[in-house]
Amino acid sequence: MTTSLKGNWLLILALSLISAPLVIMYGFQLIDSVSRPAPGGIIPQEWELTNWRFLWERIDSARPSIWRVTLNTFVFASATALLVCAFSITAAYALSRLNFPARRFFLAGLIMLHAFPTITLIIAIFIVLQFLGLYDSLIGVILVKAALELPFGIWIMKGFYDSVPWEIEMAGVQDGASRFRVWRELILPQVKPGLSALLIFSFLAGWSEFILPLVLAPGADAQVLATYMNAVIADDTRPDYGLFKAIGMFYALPVIAVYLLFQKRLMNIYGGGTKG
C-alpha cells in the first residue's frame, strides 16, 4: 500500500484540521498553567508559577490541603486496583479453566454484567452504604468502585487465561500437582502481563473516577482530586482558569506518565482486546 506522506497530504490536512481543537486545548492547558494571559485575551503575557500556589498554601481556608486530597486519591485508586486484581485472578481462572456446576450460568452472568450500565444503580448503592454505615467514608467508595470494575476485570483476565496453552496445565496435572498448585506455580506467571495491564487500568479508572466520590463521599475528609477540583471550579464566582488548569495538570500528571510509559498496553486493554 502507499504509505508515503506525499500521496496522503490531503488526508493529513483533513486530519490535522479536525484534530486542531483538541491540540489547541492540550496546548493551552499546558501554557495557561504556567503563564498569565493578557486580560480578556488568550496570548500569554508573563510566565509565572502563581497558578501552582495551591501546592504550598490553602486557596480557601475551608478546603482540605491538596496533599491530603492527593493521598486520598492515591489510596482510593490503588486500593481499588488491588481489590479488582485480587478478585479477578481467582474468579477469572475459575470461569476460564475449572469445571464446576452452573459454570455456564456464571459465565452468562459475567457477560451480562460486563454490558450492564452500573451507574444506574447509584441511588440504591447510596442507600445501601447508608445502611452499612459506610457512607461518606473512603472505604465505602473503594468497595463500590472495586465491585463495579470487577466484571470488566474478570472479563479481561479470563481472556488472558484463555490464551494460556492447555498443555502447560495438562503437564502439571500429569506430574501430580493439584489444580491449585498448577494455577499458582504454572499459570499465574503466564498471565503476569495481563495482570499488570489490569492493575494499571484499574488504577487509572480509580484515579479519574468522579461520580462515585461525588455521590458517596461528599465530605471533606474523603475528598479526592476529582471532587476537589470540581468543588474549586464550582465555588468560584469569577473563573480563574489559570488556577483550574494548574490543578488539572497536577491531577493529570500520573495519568500522562502512565500513558507515556504503557501506551501500547493501554490501547489494547481500552479496546477490550485480550492480548497483552
Binding site: 486545548m25 481467582t90 475459575a94 451480562m112 447509584i122 440504591a124 487509572l204 476529582a226 500513558y259
Partner: protein, 433 residues
C-alpha cells in the same frame, strides 16, 4: 470432581460476594425503592411517630374524628397519678402529697398555669424559677411535638391521653414520619410533562452522539490506517487522550474553549462577533458541545477498536483490489467496510446502552442547562435523588427514574448475550478429573 467444584466455587466466591452486594442487591432495592416515598424528610432507616401542632389540621382528613383531635390539642399539663409519681421521684413525696391535695385531677392549658399551681405549695415551696419550670415539665401530658421511636410507645401514649380505640389506627398512620410503600412515583412520572421531555432528550443525545462516535471513529481508524506509521501514531495519540484524561479536567478544557473570554470568543472578536458563552448560550449551542464532548471520547474508543480490527484484515486483499484497479474509496467501500460489520455492530450496541445511562459529561458541562434543555433521563434521576437545590432529595422518585434504565439495561445486555456468540466463550474446560 468434588475438589474441583470446591476450588472453582472457592475461587469465585469473593467476586460473587461483591456482585451480590453491589449489583444484585442494588437492582432489587431499586425496584423496592421505586415503590416508596422515601426522601430526605422521611429518612432512610424507617421513621418515628410524631404529631406536631401543624399536623392537627390535616388529621380529620386522615380519618381521625374531631373529638380525638380536640383531645390531642387539649389539656397540656395534668396533675394525675402518673405525673405525680414522676414529680415525687424528683421533688419528694411530701410536695407531691400537698400538690395532690391542692390540685389533684386538675389540668392546665399552658406551662405558665402549671407553674402558678406549683407556686401554691406552702409547706416546702420550690423557690427557684428554673426548678419550677423543670417541675412543671414533669406534668406535661400532651404528645404534640414529642417523638416516639416505636409504634407501641406511640399507641401507649395516645391510650393514656384517652383517645378512643376507633381513632387510634388512623392516628398512628398519620403520625408516622418514615417512608411508606406507594405507587405515586409512577403516577407522577406518567403525568409530568417533564418526563417526556427527558425521554426525548435522552433519545436525541444517544442518536446524535452515537452517530458521531461511530462515524468519526471509523473515519479516524480508516484514515490513520492509510498513513505512515509515525504519522498515524501521532494522530492516534491525540485522539486517545480524551479517553484517559480525567473527565473533570477534560470538560474543563472545553469550558475554557467556550466561555465568554475563552478561545472561541477571543478568536472571533476581531471579526466583530460579540463574545458569548458558546456552550451555554442557547439549547442548540449546548447540544452541539455535549455531542462534541461525548463524541470525542466515544470516537476515541471507536478508533482503537476499529483500528485493531482493520489490522486483522489480510493486506493481500488490499493488494488484490489495487491490482484490479480499485481506488482508495472503492477499497474502503467494498473490501474494508464489509469486514467491519461486527466491530461496528458491537460499538453501536455497547455505546447505546452506556450513552443512555451515563450523565457524567453532561453534568460537568452544562448540568442540564440552559433551563432543563439538556437534562437527559439519567441526569434527571441523579438530580431528583442525589443532588438538587431544593434540599429534599426524593430517593423514591429517583429510583423510579432509575428503574426504567435498569430494566432497559437488563433487557439489552441479555439481548447482547444472545447476540455475540456466547457458545464460543464457554468452551468446556478440557481437564476432566
Amino acid at each position: 470432581m468434588n475438589r474441583q467444584t470446591l476450588l472453582g466455587l472457592g475461587f469465585l466466591s469473593p467476586a460473587l460476594l461483591a456482585v451480590v452486594m453491589f449489583f444484585l442487591l442494588p437492582v432489587v432495592l431499586t425496584v423496592v425503592f421505586a415503590f416508596t416515598n422515601m426522601s430526605t424528610s422521611t429518612g432512610i432507616l424507617g421513621g418515628e411517630y410524631q404529631i406536631s401542632e401543624s399536623d392537627l389540621r390535616r388529621l380529620p382528613a386522615a380519618g381521625v374524628r374531631e373529638e380525638a383531635v380536640e383531645m390531642l390539642a387539649g389539656a397540656d399539663y395534668a396533675v394525675r397519678a402518673d405525673t405525680l409519681a414522676l414529680f415525687a421521684a424528683e421533688f419528694g413525696d411530701k410536695r407531691a402529697q400537698e400538690l395532690e391535695a391542692l390540685h389533684g385531677g386538675a389540668s392546665f392549658d399552658d406551662r405558665r398555669a402549671m407553674e402558678r399551681a406549683l407556686k401554691d405549695l406552702r409547706r416546702d415551696p420550690i423557690r427557684s424559677v428554673r426548678e419550677r419550670k423543670a417541675a412543671a415539665e414533669l406534668f406535661r401530658i400532651s404528645i404534640l411535638g414529642q417523638r416516639f421511636p416505636t409504634e407501641a410507645a406511640f399507641v401507649e401514649a395516645i391510650t393514656a391521653l384517652g383517645i378512643p380505640e376507633a381513632d387510634q389506627a388512623a392516628l398512628t398512620e398519620a403520625a408516622y414520619t418514615g417512608w411508606t410503600f406507594t405507587t405515586q412515583n409512577f403516577e407522577l412520572l406518567w403525568e409530568l410533562p417533564a418526563t417526556w421531555r427527558y425521554a426525548l432528550n435522552s433519545a436525541l443525545y444517544v442518536v446524535l452522539t452515537l452517530a458521531f462516535n461511530v462515524g468519526f471513529g471509523l473515519f479516524l481508524a480508516l484514515s490513520t490506517f492509510y498513513l505512515p506509521t509515525r504519522t498515524a501514531q501521532t494522530f492516534r495519540a491525540i485522539w486517545f487522550l480524551p479517553r484517559i484524561l480525567p473527565p473533570v479536567l477534560y470538560v474543563l478544557m472545553w469550558q475554557w474553549l467556550t466561555w465568554d473570554q475563552g478561545f472561541i470568543s477571543a478568536i472571533l472578536r476581531p471579526f466583530g462577533i460579540e463574545p458569548i458563552n458558546w456552550m451555554r448560550h442557547t439549547a442548540t449551542h449546548a447540544w452541539t458541545f455535549i455531542v462534541l464532548i461525548n463524541g470525542c471520547v466515544g470516537a476515541s474508543l471507536g478508533m482503537i477498536l476499529f483500528s485493531s480490527s482493520l489490522r486483522a484484515i489480510p493486506e493481500t486483499q488490499l493488494f488484490a483490489a489495487q491490482v484490479d484497479g480499485a481506488n482508495r474509496w472503492q477499497q474502503v467501500r467494498f473490501v474494508l467496510l464489509p469486514q467491519m460489520r461486527w466491530p461496528i455492530l458491537f460499538i453501536t450496541s455497547y455505546q447505546t446502552l452506556s450513552l443512555l445511562t451515563s450523565f457524567e459529561y453532561i453534568l460537568l458541562a452544562t448540568d442540564g442547562g440552559p433551563g432543563r434543555q439538556t437534562e437527559v433521563w439519567a441526569l434527571a434521576a441523579y438530580h431528583t435523588a442525589l443532588s438538587n437545590y431544593g434540599g429534599n432529595l426524593e430517593y423514591g422518585l429517583g429510583a423510579a427514574y432509575a428503574l426504567a434504565l435498569v430494566i432497559i439495561g437488563i433487557l439489552l445486555s441479555a439481548l447482547y448475550l444472545r447476540f455475540f456468540n456466547f457458545r464460543d466463550l464457554v468452551a468446556k474446560p478440557r481437564i476432566e478429573q
